[in-house]
Symmetry: C2
Subunit: 466 residues, 2 copies
């Protein structure tokens, strides 16, 4: 598609319309690493410019793809049909931190970790903690409904979004929700937009709920001979009336990878199939009592080893295995198909049994870890992109994984969304009637289908070349 | 409208189609007490019957109004245009309580309090606690997004709905969400349906998230010379990193009413403008520490008296003033315009200043109380329906209240919804573009406008006679 940038220059200024080859490529890819070139990249300065660009795209039927940090795993910000990529990078300010009302108002491209640091400096807390939090931005987190380890106790991004300013594909600026936690005036557009993957509207301002920062944490590490033992520990600690902030489970294949990468054999005792990191937080009296109960639950479930951090240095050391995981996986193979499936938490053992089947049946390395409390497991199918047969086996395994997760009454995505990477599988989780309804909703926002086209719905997806 | 009930009898059976005058009136009213007769009442037995009735109504363009417990305060289940009222009272079973996965699956007409008892019997907890919980039902709570005192710590109904089965007005049966807490597959239809007031779909099954039941509570009562002092206490305790389960604030006019009704003068020390009930919950170690901090915050904020329940009997005694409140208000005047406005929590003092203005300006009694942590205050404008001038002054005061709340960046409803009672005020909180978008969404669910017509949107409302 050739786009004459003159009208866009009139809106945002010549310095903020990029048409060079490098920019068009750079802004056309994300963490999925299967990009497509934008025809033109625009960098609006404010909501009015966002609206004017949207209106122009709608009038000229030009695809328009909003973009935040570009860290998504499903191609959500990839312009699969070309057109205009709108990077919101200039809308990157924290507008307000209202301590008395426990509210932050931010522009969409504030980096999530930067916001967290700012609110923690005044004793407040914004819990959602996607692994990408030092690169990803609040607007993108909202568009994808990002999760993270702390979701077990604190919920995902959705639970913290009180209100939005958003631009419709036809250029209208709307405000949804507001500064109050309870609000039942009209339909809940706010939470319809959260997780809508940039297909319904362009988010230009986010009002977030904050909570008081828990002053103390305690961290425990337990190792188990099987995943079933580890999940039993989780169920026991819930029965003991404890909701930890995080319950991270790391499987044996991951542990081997980290041990090899760090050249440290002490990470897990021999025979460890599952390592669990549990963190509890709150007032110090509470944290001590909860940590005791966690230890008791792990022992009762048959933990082979149990460690409890005595200070911050030990806490960081326990977390080290988790932090080094992503880098260590790169030593297995250059590419990972990073799936974020989710099953009811008591069925995590069945999910791991399925992963074992996939390893054998498709001859693949599939180190897996995740948020055991939520049943949300990252299943990393490692492939060498130069090995076409292996890539094919990985895609075959992916389908069997998604079918198996569906059979366990789970969902094919708990954190990353659909984008174009998983669109072909949407029908596993949703009926034709539900998909048809979603398309009618999409049309009620975007009558000409210009906003982030070719995403989410299987029959509209064309897979871009890398 | 005359409806020949034969096709409905063919679907649900003659015993479950009611056309007698008494039933048509009874099923045509709710707690708002401004009803309208149904033309016919149907009581389907299952989802298939719900779908068949919806299809018939859609084909014949007959208004269809779903009904749960009939306890709403905004006329949500009133058939303002006549037609079919569909009571879901036969869909009243708890289908499953899954302890390992912390999930309950229920039919829509399970009474909320019955569900709570059932899950608490196995150590679990369903926190949402609307005042109507012994009469209202889960489906209605979902349709209205019911709140309650515990919303401050635990959130409202929305935060507990994982999935729904629902029937579209055109008869399709859809499933949204599911059994997992994290789910980002497609648009979030689940949370679009929560709070949609029965205008988008008929809810036939609800999958709810449960949490472990906090084993211990502590309850404190503090009295303050002004509302500003009381709100200062709330802000101080948040700074002390405590999130109480509930922070109920009761104003001086309410206290007088209860004191008169019970003939007990000890309820509040002289000069009390605001009484605050704070409850913290969790493990016993935590509860003790948190209660200490609550007491400290109240003292620092200038509490005139501070009580802390030493046992369950004392706890019940502290709550007594709150429990007797509704009945005592009936001694002021037979009718209350029960508004559930919400403002950012630090602006609750301004809201009470506004209420004082209304009292003076319109010569009305307006006892007010509510959920101070959320800024969600029940403003009860008491009227004698036989006094037409007073009723008019109450309506005038209502408009000034809603305009004032909007100016404080609040919302006209935090719990009760819009229905037809507040539809005229929708435009105070939502722009014309946002309302137009909501109408397009409504049409994407309900192309012929048969489901619960005449609600929410101002230009579609006709006010029924009582």
């Amino acid at each position: 598609m050739e786009i004459r940038p003159v009208p866009l220059i009139a809106i945002v200024g010549a310095d903020f319309v990029l048409t060079d080859e490098e920019s068009r490529r750079k802004y056309g890819t994300d963490a999925l690493k299967r990009g497509h070139q934008a025809d033109v990249v625009v960098l609006p300065a404010d909501t009015a410019q966002v609206a004017a660009v949207a209106r122009w795209c709608d009038e000229t039927r030009t695809p328009l793809v909003p973009r935040g940090g570009g860290t998504g795993y499903t191609g959500g910000s990839v312009p699969v049909r070309g057109g205009v990529v709108m990077s919101l990078e200039r809308l990157n300010r924290i507008l307000e931190i209202d301590e008395a009302n426990l509210i932050a108002i931010v522009q969409p491209n504030v980096i999530t970790g930067v916001l967290q640091d700012a609110v923690e400096a005044v004793g407040l807390f914004y819990p959602p903690d996607p692994a990408s939090l030092r690169q990803s931005v609040v607007g993108g987190n909202v568009a994808e409904c990002a999760g993270g380890p702390r979701a077990f106790k604190y919920g995902v991004t959705k639970q913290y979004v009180l209100g939005l300013e958003a631009v419709l594909p036809t250029g209208e600026i709307i405000r949804t929700g507001g500064k109050v936690v309870k609000n039942v005036v009209g339909y809940d557009l706010t939470h319809l937009l959260v997780g809508s993957e940039g297909t319904l509207a362009i988010i230009t301002e986010v009002t977030l709920r904050l909570i008081p920062k828990p002053p103390v944490q305690a961290t425990l590490r337990a190792t188990f001979p099987t995943v079933t033992h580890a999940v039993d520990a989780v169920i026991r600690l819930l029965r003991a009336r404890v909701i930890p902030a995080t319950v991270e489970l790391i499987d044996g294949e991951c542990l081997e990878s980290v041990a090899r990468y760090l050249n440290v054999r002490s990470l897990a005792p021999p025979g460890t199939a599952a390592l669990v990191l549990v963190e509890v937080d709150g007032l110090s009296e509470q944290v001590g009592a909860e940590a005791d109960r966690v230890a008791e639950a792990c022992r009762a479930a048959g933990a082979t080893e149990l460690l409890r951090a005595r200070d911050e240095a030990e806490r960081q050391e326990l977390w080290r295995v988790r932090r080094e995981l992503s880098l260590s996986l790169k030593t297995i193979a250059p590419l990972k198909f990073n799936h974020d499936v989710v099953v009811p938490k008591a069925r995590v053992p069945q999910l791991f049994a399925l992963i074992d089947d996939l390893r054998r049946r498709f001859q693949l390395r599939i180190p897996s870890f995740g948020h055991a409390g939520d049943g949300n497991i990252h299943v990393n199918i490692m492939v060498d992109p130069a090995d076409a047969a292996e890539v094919q086996r990985a895609h075959d395994a992916e389908r069997v994984l998604f079918e198996g997760v569906t059979a366990l009454e789970g969902a094919i995505s708990g954190e990353h969304g659909i984008g174009f990477a998983k669109a072909a599988y949407l029908g596993l989780n949703l009926s034709p009637d539900a998909i048809a309804l979603m398309k009618r909703i999409k049309a009620s926002f975007d009558p000409h289908g210009i906003l982030n086209p070719g995403k989410m719905f299987p029959d509209e997806v064309t897979f871009p070349e890398s």
